[in-house]
């Protein structure tokens, strides 16, 4: 304890006192630093952090509007919204997206397609904490399985969602089109804020044309959330405007009758109400189930649809461009009369072929033995080619072009379907531009019987037939009938077709009546035993050119190389309520394959279905 005796307690106390003062000063200095730091954060930078804090807790969420429903003319629901449950993932809440997907795959079936499209959507522009659908349309069992394993699956949610559903499936796929997942490209075309909560977009048909109408406008709510994105309360809310419910002119029963009449053959049918232009039926067979596309079609099914030789995805009624064949003879007949190229007394001798001066080529009549002496009436009724060769030669391409254009050939006239094709109405200018060749007289002859360069869609044929049934009064074909139960106003149509003599119409229509009801009418077998009068014209479109002097033998030619059967017509003759165009691909002759389809449709629409107890009634509300 020697050192203890040498300790200087007074000095030690002084040293301590000295150091304690320094310590106090240090405490004060560092406390001032803290005061300054908190002053900086709370007073100087208050506004900055207040904004950050508000942005943290307030979140503007979009509320997706409910898509409008689509009805047929009598109120049958064609496009519905069905509540379904989807499996979604929130990336920010999962530890590892891949591991979570792998775990989910142990519990329920998730295809590679699902995963692939999930990743694609995950890569798109996305708000933080926004959920992305992994699998749609969960079954009750799958929902239960997820619920049982919920505690293991962070970030996995089962969300209720309204999904488009087409109750009639493939019956209307080519009319309504379908909705599908909105793509990045489509998002660029629309107002992004209006589509901020929308997952679906009309891809085809009515769904596409009336997309903005059916979509409605988005609603918003400001919500207070916690850091995990859970909504704690809704602060204010602007309700969305649901999409408009629309009805279309289409008649489901007629549509069904047309599909039934086509009986599985490839073909197309368009029916139009001449007084309004309303499209009563629009059929293209084979068809497909649009419901497959709504939540995303798997690649195997899609490939099967794409690769099918029957091309079910192809809309023949709107996009199929066929030589119209003899179906244009009534229109050309009107042109011949109006240009005074011919009159009702003009007669031509038909030996079975027609020949131009200085030309060896024989232009054949479909009837090898010829029709003998024929006038316009007989030529329409019996579909004599030689009379029309002669008239076309005399009238010339310019006149034919002018009159056919008035009936809407060569231009797409449908008011509210975007994908319809224009067809081809050839002219001198067209041939020079497209083929770099002058117009030859032989081209006029081919055009005179609806062959050669001329192409038209079934929709164009039906439209022209409706104008003819209206005796020149134009109505643009359209689907839309009502929007939110109020009738859609008349739409602007091309100028009416006016002829020098009003009775020309009656003359040609009378000839078309002869096709159905006359002794020599080409479609007389389809016209018999009817309670009403109908007018029509058959047609045949050549698929492959027939060599000179070759005998056409339908049996010998492969089915795919057989001629397309065509028919246009309307009924009743005095007060036309329905105009149709029928195309049966490789059906052979128009009278045998196409006209019966039209007759069944006339009956279905005008007479009504044969009353079989509880069958058709049940389908309509």
């Amino acid at each position: 304890m020697a050192s203890r005796e040498l300790k200087d307690h007074f000095r030690e106390q002084r040293i301590f006192f000295h150091r304690a003062i320094w310590a106090a000063l240090g405490v004060i200095a560092l406390s001032i630093a803290l005061f300054a730091r908190y002053y900086y954060l709370q007073i100087s930078q208050h506004e900055v952090y207040k904004t950050l804090s508000d942005r943290n807790r307030m979140q503007l969420q979009s509320i997706t509007p409910t898509r409008g429903l689509i009805y047929d003319r009598s109120g049958v629901l064609l496009a519905d919204n069905q509540p379904t449950f989807s499996l979604t993932l929130v990336k920010e809440r999962t530890k590892d997206v891949d591991a979570t997907i792998a775990e989910l795959q142990d519990i329920l079936e998730i295809t590679d397609d699902d995963v692939e499209s999930f990743r694609k959507r995950m890569g798109q522009r996305r708000r933080p904490y926004e959920s992305v659908t992994l699998k749609s349309r969960l079954t009750e069992e799958e929902i239960a399985r997820i619920a049982v394993n919920r505690h293991l699956l962070a970030g996995v949610e089962v969300e209720a969602e309204l999904i488009r559903y087409y109750p009639l499936g493939d019956t209307l796929a080519h009319v309504l089109g379908y909705v599908g997942r909105i793509s990045e490209r489509e998002l660029k075309q629309v107002d992004p804020s209006n589509y901020s909560g929308t997952q679906y977009y009309g891809k085809l048909g009515v769904e596409r044309h009336y997309e903005s109408l059916l979509h409605g406008s988005v609603g918003y709510q400001t919500v207070e959330t916690d850091a995990r994105g859970r909504v704690l309360r809704v602060l204010d809310r602007v309700a969305p405007t649901p999409g408009a419910d629309i009805s279309i002119y289409l008649d489901v029963n007629l549509q069904r009758a047309a599909i039934e009449a086509l009986d599985g053959r490839r073909g197309a049918v368009v029916a139009i109400e001449p007084s309004t232009g309303g499209i009563l039926a629009l059929v293209s067979t084979p068809s497909f189930d649009p419901n497959l596309f709504v939540t995303g079609i798997d690649s195997a099914t899609y490939k099967a649809l794409q690769d099918s030789p029957d091309i079910p995805l192809f809309n023949r009624a709107l996009r199929g461009q066929y030589p119209p064949g003899s179906t244009i003879k009534p229109f050309l007949g009107l042109a011949g009369l109006d240009t005074e190229t011919i009159n009702v007394n003009s007669r031509v001798w038909d030996p079975g072929w027609y020949q131009l001066k200085n030309d060896d080529r024989k232009y054949r009549d479909w009837k090898r033995s010829g029709h003998g002496w024929v006038d316009l009436n007989a030529s329409i009724e019996q579909s004599c080619d030689v009379f029309f060769y002669d008239m076309a030669f005399k009238m010339g391409v310019d006149n034919m072009y002018a009159y056919m254009a008035q009936f809407g050939f060569g231009e797409q006239m449908v008011y509210d379907i975007d994908e319809a094709q224009d067809g081809i109405l050839p002219s001198r200018e067209w041939k020079r531009a497209a083929r770099r060749l002058p117009w030859f007289p032989g081209d006029s002859l081919n055009m005179g019987i609806g062959q050669g360069f001329m192409l038209s869609t079934p929709m164009q044929l039906a439209t022209a037939t409706a104008v003819l049934a209206n005796r020149g009064k134009w109505v643009r074909p359209r689907l839309i009938k009502t929007i939110n139960e109020s009738e859609v106003a008349d739409i602007e149509s091309p100028p009416d077709v006016t002829l020098k003599q009003e009775w020309y119409w009656n003359y040609v229509i009378k000839a078309m009546e002869g096709v159905m009801h006359g002794r020599h009418g080409t479609a007389r077998s389809s016209g018999k035993d009817s309670s009403y009068k109908m007018a029509g014209k058959t047609g045949t479109a050549q698929v492959i050119g027939i060599k000179q002097n070759a005998v056409y033998d339908a049996e010998a030619i492969a089915e795919r190389h057989r001629d397309h059967a065509l028919f246009v017509g309307f009924a009743p003759v005095d007060n036309p309520k329905i105009a149709v165009a029928v195309l049966v691909e490789n059906g052979g002759g128009g009278s045998g394959a196409a006209a019966p389809v039209a007759r069944k449709m006339f009956d279905a629409y005008l007479v009504g279905p044969k009353l079989e107890p509880g069958q058709m009634q049940a389908a309509s509300p």
């Binding site: 050192s3 203890r4 040498l6 300790k7 200087d8 307690h9 000095r11 030690e12 106390q13 040293i15 301590f16 006192f17 150091r19 304690a20 310590a23 106090a24 405490v27 004060i28 560092l30 406390s31 630093a33 803290l34 005061f35 730091r37 908190y38 002053y39 954060l41 709370q42 007073i43 930078q45 208050h46 900055v48 952090y49 207040k50 950050l52 804090s53 508000d54 943290n56 807790r57 920010e92 207070e224 959330t225 916690d226 850091a227 995990r228 704690l232």
Partner: protein, 383 residues
């Protein structure tokens, strides 16, 4: 019998030699310090209620922590400081043994071994908390017998006493506690009169050692914390999240605050650890700059009182120990408030007597018990 006779002979005579026997003196309480602590604790419980998502059970449990810790404080206050001095080496080596045991058999909590289960009874102890008292006691014991200012040999001796436990704790790894313990030991040295040359030399040494620490001692998560501190925006959703959210909470509180229980940052779960290490952010958000100024002033008053007690300590051991304990308390305050407001890296240091947690409350109240013991056991004659 002898003493009672003496009393009878000189009635009231003791009053001349000691202070009046009030309740405070019977309990060995320093009234100003006790009042300040009580204010802090009660105010802290209000903030805790808000910071713990209005969890009354949490507040009640913390109340029990305080009750137990206050009892410990009162018990320690009754001991003469000389008892602590005598026990210092035993306490220190017991703690050191505990630290070694933790490294060998310790149980995990959040990836770090800090706890030691005592077999048989369901009690877990944290030897590192124990060392927060044992290290300054030991260093004060070691130096109080030497001639001060300490010689080179004694400084080295003191540094060994400080850094052996600090290194063991850093290895658990618990950098926050290691720093606090090292600081408590160093404070003893400073109060003992460590020369200015030494102080500057040590600062230079730390600066030189820092890169070596970075590469050889620090764990990845510790490095990450430092990187995050330097640039919180670099990883705003993970490691930077805490500090960004706590700054937002503090800053959005403004001058007057959003009001009690109205803090959106904490109540909407944006603020992490809102009832433990980051509770000052809750206070700053709900009570604003006024609240921060009040609590900081309260801390300064407690520290001021503590330094006063230390300066008036009767012997060198008491002064060194008291000075070290109260300055360590300040380190708690500064490191916690500094890290939450983003001027220091995030190390796990609670806001003393406000953050939820029983262990730190126990240690801190024990240290205040020692301070009160030092203040209430002064004899008339200086030694």
């Amino acid at each position: 019998m002898k003493s009672s006779d003496f009393v009878r002979q000189l009635p009231g005579g003791e009053a001349h030699f000691s202070r009046p026997r009030t309740l405070a003196s019977i309990l060995h309480i320093d009234v100003p310090l006790f009042t300040l602590l009580l204010t802090l604790v009660l105010g802290g419980l209000f903030v805790l209620y808000s910071g713990s998502e209005k969890s009354m059970p949490d507040v009640a449990r913390q109340g029990i922590h305080f009750a137990v810790a206050s009892s410990l404080m009162l018990i320690l206050a009754r001991f003469d400081p000389q008892v602590f001095r005598r026990w210092a080496p035993w306490v220190f080596f017991l703690g050191l043994a505990g630290l070694v045991a933790v490294l060998v058999f310790g149980s995990d909590a959040k990836g770090a071994q800090r706890w030691l289960k005592i077999p048989g009874v369901n009690v877990r102890v944290q030897p590192s908390e124990f060392m927060k008292l044992a290290v300054p006691m030991m260093v004060a014991w070691y130096l109080s017998d030497r001639i001060l200012p300490p010689s080179f040999k004694h400084i080295i001796g003191a540094l060994i006493i400080i850094f052996v436990p600090a290194a063991l704790i850093a290895k658990q790894p618990d950098l926050g506690t290691a720093i606090l313990i090292a600081a408590s030991g160093v404070f003893v040295l400073l109060f003992a009169g460590l020369g200015l040359r030494w102080i500057l030399g040590c600062l230079a040494g730390v600066a030189a050692l820092a890169p070596a620490m970075w590469f050889f001692v620090m764990h990845d998560y510790q490095k990450q914390r430092v990187l995050t501190f330097l640039d919180p925006e670099s990883d705003p959703l993970r490691t930077g999240w805490n500090i960004i959210q706590s700054k937002t909470a503090i800053g959005s509180g403004g001058f007057g605050g959003k009001g009690w229980l109205e803090g959106t940052q904490s109540h909407l779960d944006f603020l992490p650890e809102s009832h433990t290490d980051f509770i000052i952010a809750v206070l700053a958000e709900e009570f604003g700059y006024i609240g921060v100024a009040c609590i900081l002033t309260l801390y300064m008053m407690i520290i001021g009182r503590g330094l006063y007690i230390a300066a008036n300590g009767q012997d060198t051991f008491s002064r060194l120990l008291a000075g070290s304990l109260i300055m360590t308390f300040f380190v708690y305050v500064f490191v916690n408030m500094g890290m939450v407001s983003g001027i220091l890296p995030v190390v796990g240091v609670p806001l003393p007597l406000v953050s939820y947690g029983g262990t730190s409350v126990l240690t801190l109240m024990a240290s205040f018990g020692i301070l009160m013991s030092i203040h209430t056991h002064k004899k008339m004659l200086s030694r």
